[in-house]
């Protein structure tokens, strides 16, 4: 038995792969649910009910999906150009804390229409800065960015932790380590009244389409794809490798920083060190699940959000640990990686 590269990848196969991967993951997770002593189909039904069963749960799922779309796009854009940005989590936090600082210290008092776009830009800029450092190290000294972006996540989180226990600490928070809140003028408008769903979801949709168009239609998109697929070939064809990667890093870091910004401005209102339940890392899973396709990222983010929100509901009603959501999402990633392999290779004997 051996593996052979497929000559043609059919569209149907590419679309079927993530669907099959998700089904595979659900089937495998079902084994665990059964071991936990619960009826499997009932548990999955509860997940769906938990995610979509009421107005509240449906809006919560979409609220949860909003930052995931952005961090997923951040990873997808970078990975396309073989820039291994594992630092989405750190960029998320730096974006969030910058927004809190700017809103409470610098921009307070500006009207919403001015302040909100400015703050979103501040959040994106913070994410960009945090990704440009590892990129500079890679371009100048060939330092592996997998290591540097990953480790900077911890640096960023500790930095945030220092600020919210120090200069940015909210004096009204009864001593809890949390940042000063963003001004009321800076809170993102809601998409639906009496819910937490904010316009961040719309921003995610728009940016997913925008990234898709940039990648498929523009000179920059073509050059960044070339740089990712074959750096030597790209250089020979005159693609400015460094400059292209800097642009890619700006998009990727900016998207992750933006995710932090909308989460602060749309949901929590202030920064704590548990602002993100791993949005940066889940973004990587989302991107892989979408096979790095920006439009697919939206669907993959929704799936991930459904699993996380739905598993909470299932856990409450059936007494199964919520970790089942983590397990299912992780299994879907593994299944997807296996599935992607088989879209590229076939078994031959």
């Amino acid at each position: 038995m051996r593996f052979e590269r497929r000559e043609h990848r059919s569209v149907a196969l590419v679309i079927a792969t993530p669907v099959l991967a998700v089904l595979c993951a659900l089937a495998l997770a079902g084994i665990l649910i059964a071991i936990a002593g619960a009826p499997v189909m009932e548990a999955y039904w509860r997940i769906l009910v938990g995610a979509f069963g009421s107005r509240l749960s449906a809006t919560e799922t979409l609220t949860r999906a909003s930052p995931l779309i952005l961090t997923g796009l951040a990873a997808a854009v970078a990975f396309r150009a073989r820039l291994w940005n594992i630092g989405g989590e750190g960029q998320f936090y730096l974006g969030a804390i910058s927004v809190a600082a700017a809103s409470s210290q610098l921009l307070a008092g500006l009207p919403s229409a001015v302040q909100i776009p400015l703050l979103l830009a501040v959040g994106a800029a913070a994410g960009i800065v945090l990704l440009l450092v590892p990129l500079w190290l890679r371009l100048s000294f060939s330092v592996d960015e997998v290591v540097t972006t990953l480790l900077l996540n911890f640096v960023a989180l500790l930095f945030v932790s220092m600020l919210i226990d120090g200069v940015l600490k909210d004096p009204m928070a009864f001593g809890w380590p949390q940042s000063q809140p963003v001004a009321d003028d800076a809170v993102l408008p809601k998409l639906l009244a009496r819910s937490r769903l904010h316009i961040g979801l719309g921003i995610g949709f728009v940016l997913a389409v925008a990234v898709h168009l940039v990648q498929s239609r523009t000179v920059f998109g073509m050059q960044s794809r070339a740089a990712g697929l074959n750096p030597a070939g790209a250089v020979f064809a005159g693609v400015p490798l460094g400059r292209t990667l800097v642009k890619v890093a700006c998009i990727s870091g900016g998207l992750a920083g933006l995710a932090g910004a909308i989460e602060v401005m749309g949901v929590q209102g202030y920064v704590t060190t548990d602002l993100s339940p791993g949005y940066g890392y889940s973004g990587i899973v989302v991107a892989m699940l979408a096979n790095l396709n920006p439009l697919g990222v939206v669907l993959a983010a929704l799936f991930t959000a459904v699993m996380f929100v739905g598993a909470d509901g299932m856990s409450r009603s059936m007494g199964i640990p919520t970790y089942i959501a983590d397990v299912t999402v992780s299994l879907s990633l593994i299944s997807m990686l296996v599935g992607v392999f088989f879209t590229q290779y076939r078994i031959r004997r």
Partner: protein, 508 residues
Amino acid sequence: MINAALDICGISKLFGNNLANDDISLSLGKGEIVALLGENGAGKTTLMNILFGHYVPDSGKVLIEGRELPPGKPRAAIRAGIGMVHQHFSLAPNLTVLENVMAGTESLWRLRSGTDAARQKLQGICSRFGLTVDPHARLGDLSVGEQQRVEILKALYNDARILVLDEPTAVLTNLESERLFSTLKYMAREGLSLIFISHKLDEVMAAADRIVVLRGGRKVAERLASKTNKAELAELMVGRKVARPVREPSTPREVVLEVAGVSVIIDGVERLKSIDFTLRAGEVLGIIGVSGNGQTTLAHLLSGTVSRDKGVVVLFGEPIGDLSVEGAVLAGIGRVPEDRNNEGAIGEMAIWENAILERLPRFSRHGLVDRSAGQAFARMIIDAFDVRGGKPTTRTRLLSGGNMQKLILGRNLIERPRILIAAQPARGLDEGAVAAVHERLLQARREGTAVLLISEDLDEVMALADRIQAIVNGRLSPPVSAQEADATKLGLMMAGEWNEEHEISDAL
């Protein structure tokens, strides 16, 4: 046939609608070297995969020393004494030679590894076959030729009596190839039987006792090396007469490129040492040399991907600074890189994308790629340069080597460049494709393009070039005209035998 080491009897194998092997029989005597000659897709690899048990044949059988080999069982093939030396080595660069050779020979459950015994056995094999390698050297530190020797040793360590070498010279320099051939002959005298897969005529003539020619999955001929010649083999292999074109006389015109005293230092190593040459419109200047002597740097310098540290470059009469890729393309310099797969094309991108990637400014407006113009451009190249096997939207990786080279030549020549830098343009191509590439280069020359042909193939340079310079260790010899050049003289030049004071000729 009592003393045949290997008999392949009537093997057929069908893949889909494609008959990859059609009733092929051949036998290999003990101590004999048989070459399997054929173009890409002739069925050589399929046949060897059947021999190794990777594929099950639809009909036919394999006999080793008269005993039938069970089909589809690689382990049985190895136990029967068949060893394979792959074109791409299956070795670990971070292990030592000894560890590489031993890998896979010991059970995972054994607590101690029999290193001493293994080293003794390896040294025994080394001295018996005259293969010298330090068993404790790290594989990654060895040259490609030495690594190949390790790959051979590994097969011999597994007690191979029949050795199959798949395109063994594809990665070797000429000198290393010659050394390999003498090793193979020595091994044959020691009683090993060898199958040598190749599509290069020179090599099979030099190395083999007997030559089996495959074409389109069928055995078309079998010849003793002593009773055939290259022309006959070429015709058998391709199925029709192929004649590589030869340049007709012409008068070169104005000088388009002058390079004087140019040096290039990369990572502290002086790759080009004060080289001089001039290039005229309507001529081919051949730069001959064993690869690794600075050719790559020279090609990169003129392609705009490497900048010089010293010297003057005069392009179309004007001294210029460092060339950028974009500058080179805009100035009308066509560029054919020596590494087709790595530099020449991005395999996972479509043909049309590869066609326009180096001239994106022309195929875009306001930063948006003009797809339809790009695809039309690709279609033009496909039609004009007879690129087979793909539409503009096909991924480039799916093209054969020859067709990929036609695409690369096409995207340069369709623009009628004033200069063409062609680095090893026919390397690794089969006979038919070589002739096509040569014809294109000569056509460009007729149309007034100045062609710089960088090559290590003597025949190629002598057939195409008007003037020839040798490159040795970063230095460039003075030019000799093609009329005065013969193999001996060029051989001396490639060995660095020229006198700086008294030029070899006054061709200029």
